[in-house]
């Protein structure tokens, strides 16, 4: 073999080596293109049309998006989503931080057992979770009303899911229950990675527990907080809360989130173009919250 032929072989081998990684990721990229990117782009194109799902599409530009601004039902669904977001994301994160700070550095017996218990809601399907809570909230035989009866607080009994004053919060609390455990597990793992010397040094400097939390624990947990924030946000706005609401109230008494409204508009009312605009806005909100969280994380770093 002469020198020139050897160089050609080496060059070909280098080219093959460069192609291989792309071949490995090709199935994933391909499925993402087919099942995520293409449907999203199709959905966006539908949102620019007036379309009942069957007949010809009539191009109306951004009218569907403009109409959303004055659609009372959409605004109501958006407000409902804010409540779900607050309970699923904000309350879960705040309570998760508080509880994990209390238990992570102590010598709690059976901590693995508690971690498993906390994680259970994460492996229960949203439909099953909704069904369980529908029974818990049931007016006649539900656990909550039964408990109130036993402890002599009959006057506090309510049809929890059958009243506009309580229904939205009752559904939202399911989000807290489902996500609190996950937040605790992630934060406990994060806290346990923090160097114990930092806490000891701060003690010598006279730092109180709250100051330790504020200046040591919280800054070191920012990545974990962003992860839980993004995941809980997606669930509080997307398919998870859709399923939970569908099973608990069906969207009655002001509990309908945007995702369920989009379903109603598309498949009950036959306004597929309009529903597509609703979904685009919902996706934008999710990306917005996720992007903002990532931006804040990077700026902090």
């Amino acid at each position: 073999m002469n020198k020139g032929t050897g160089r050609v072989h080496k060059s070909r081998r280098r080219k093959s080596a460069a192609i291989v990684p792309y071949l490995y990721i090709a199935p994933t990229v391909g499925s993402a293109l087919v099942f995520v990117i293409y449907p999203f782009l199709s959905n966006f194109s539908f949102s620019l049309f007036q379309w009942d799902g069957f007949g010809a599409k009539v191009f109306i530009g951004l009218k569907n998006f403009i109409d959303l601004a004055s659609d009372e039902r959409f605004i109501r669904a958006f407000q409902t989503n804010l409540v779900y977001f607050f309970f699923t994301v904000i309350v879960s994160i705040l309570l998760g931080l508080a509880i994990s700070s209390l238990i992570a550095r102590g010598r709690l017996r059976g901590v693995r057992f508690f971690q498993s218990v906390y994680f259970i809601p994460q492996v229960v399907a949203a439909i099953a979770l909704g069904t369980i809570f529908r029974w818990i909230y049931a007016p006649l035989f539900g656990v909550i009303n039964h408990f109130l009866r036993i402890v002599g607080l009959e006057h506090l009994q309510r049809p929890w899911l059958g009243n506009p004053e309580t229904a939205t919060v009752a559904v939202a609390i399911i989000g807290t229950w489902a996500w609190l455990g996950f937040c605790i597990i992630v934060y406990v793992a994060g806290i346990q990675k923090i160097d114990e010397n930092l806490y000891e040094a701060s003690l010598l400097d006279g730092a109180k527990a709250l100051q330790q939390f504020w200046y040591i624990t919280l800054p070191d947990l920012r990545f974990e907080v962003v992860v839980t924030l993004i995941m809980a946000t997606v669930h509080s706005l997307g398919s998870y809360i859709f399923a939970v609401t569908l099973v608990t109230t069906g969207g009655a008494y002001g509990t309908r989130p945007i995702a369920l409204y989009a379903y109603q508009a598309a498949f009950v009312e036959g306004r597929v173009g309009y529903a597509s605009a609703v979904v685009i806005v919902l996706t934008g909100i999710i990306f917005g919250v996720a992007g903002l969280s990532m931006f804040l994380l990077e700026r902090k770093e």
Binding site: L23, P139, W160, G162, N163, Y253
Partner: protein, 442 residues
């Protein structure tokens, strides 16, 4: 080595593509493809029996049938027909839910020639039932014009009553709304909930209010005029009609009285349809004002139930329109390469004696009338069949109110819950419905 890795990955991908395409190519077999929603145990055998009859006549044909729940199937039909493909026989739900848009999009075959060929018009459904599968040729007017779909079984809303409680409290069957209210008072005094209902599911409210509304309208304008009015505001959506009628308001007022008098089961605002059924099946309530589709579950209860049509406002009055109709119908896709054979399958499905025989065996309410009652033992099922025959005989099959406009489901659902929570007056309730109606028809 890298070359071999690359080649192996490429070969795997090609293999997958090859397998997928060979499945799609298939062989040159004659296939009739059906997409329906007859997946329940008491409906499936009827569809299968029709397929057997079809295959007996056409032994060289295969029948490929897919049955899924309504929402799933609707999505599949939308996607398939939108792409110009799909089965020969498709789901075509009534009104603006599917039929109207499908007619306007020229996606389904007009069935009038087949109705004539097979004599369906003479021997199957009553005229008021046929109207529910009619649209004008341009798809703009529901309830008039050409036939686009046919159905297998029917639905009828009426009053289920617990015979044990009636016997225990020495109650007689109410023959008017006034008597119904007296009966409910006695049931309440007897320690039972009079009516089990759960308005967490919108349609539970639609049927309760609708039954009362149909009776109140019949009282206000006469039973036949009420039927005409309901046809106009629910099916034909005539612009010169209005929901601001005294019967609509009066029935809402009566419902609020029932709430105030505690005639409805405790916590009804937080119960769904299945919960309400459970309460009734547990023997905790004496009445259940719902549809015939519950009859199979109710027949299996520990006690015996009866079924009566919703009574007129006053004793001796005419039978008011009764909410009901043909259950979700099916039609023929415009893309079917053999619509004549598809129509022949439909004929086996809806018109063969075997179908009625199986429906009666499976306690299904046939859409075809009159339903032969010979050999049907007295009891709940006999009651329902009798009520269905009578309702069709007098031509007073009322309507599911949500059909009126695409957004009426939401409007009546929300307004109904406000009405039942006594947050709005009966007038405000009807005004909300009227506003929705005007927005659609004007």
């Amino acid at each position: 080595m890298f070359r071999w890795q690359a080649l192996s990955i490429l070969m795997s991908c090609l293999l997958v593509v090859f397998m997928m395409t060979t499945c799609a190519w298939g062989s040159d077999v004659k296939v009739l493809e059906i997409w329906d929603i007859y997946y329940q145990p008491n409906r499936e055998p009827v569809a299968e029996a029709a397929i057997e009859q079809f295959k007996e006549r056409y032994p060289d044909w295969q029948v490929k049938r897919s049955a899924r729940p309504l929402a799933d199937m609707k999505t599949a039909v939308m996607a398939a027909l939108g792409a110009g493909v799909g089965p020969d026989i498709v789901l075509v739900n009534n009104g603006e839910h599917m039929m109207g848009p499908m007619v306007r999009a020229n996606q389904i075959v007009n069935l009038d020639p087949y109705a004539e060929q097979y004599g369906w018009l003479d021997e199957l459904f009553s005229p008021t039932i046929w109207d529910r599968v009619r649209y004008t040729e341009d798809g703009t007017q529901f309830g008039e014009g050409l036939i686009w779909a046919v159905g297998l079984d029917a639905e009828l809303v009426g009053i289920y009553y617990n015979k044990d409680i009636f016997e225990e409290l020495n109650l007689s069957i109410p023959e008017s709304v006034a008597e119904l209210e007296e009966t409910m008072q006695l049931i309440k005094e007897g320690g039972y909930a009079p009516i089990s209902v759960g308005i967490l599911d919108d349609w539970q409210f639609f049927h309760l209010y609708g039954a009362l509304q149909h009776a109140a309208l019949a009282h206000q304008m006469g039973a036949d005029a009420a039927q005409e009015y309901l046809d106009d505001v629910v099916v034909r959506t005539k612009a010169d009609r209005s929901w601001m009628e005294e019967g609509n308001i009066e029935s809402a007022r009566i419902l609020q009285n029932w709430v105030e008098n505690e005639f409805l089961v405790d916590g009804f605002t937080a119960l769904g349809g299945d919960d309400a059924l459970s309460v009734y099946l547990a023997g905790a309530s004496a009445l259940f004002i719902q549809g015939s589709w519950y009859s199979v579950s109710i027949a299996e209860a520990d006690f015996e139930s009866g079924f009566i049509p919703f009574p007129p406002m006053e004793k001796g009055g005419e039978l008011p329109p009764q909410i009901g109709g043909m259950a979700t119908p099916i039609g023929i896709s415009i893309y079917s390469p053999h619509p004549d054979l598809a129509a022949e399958y439909l004929d086996f499905l809806i018109a063969s004696d075997k179908t009625v025989e199986l429906q009666l065996e499976l306690n299904v309410l046939p859409a075809r009338v009159p339903v032969p009652l010979e050999g049907i033992p007295k009891g709940l099922y006999h009651d329902i069949l009798t009520a269905w025959n009578e309702t069709n005989r007098v031509g007073r099959v009322g309507h599911f109110l949500d059909w009126a406009t695409p957004t009426m489901w939401d409007t009546i659902g929300d307004a109904g819950r406000d009405l039942m929570l006594l947050r709005i007056s009966p007038e405000e309730f009807v005004e909300k419905i009227e506003a929705d109606y005007r927005a659609f028809v004007d």
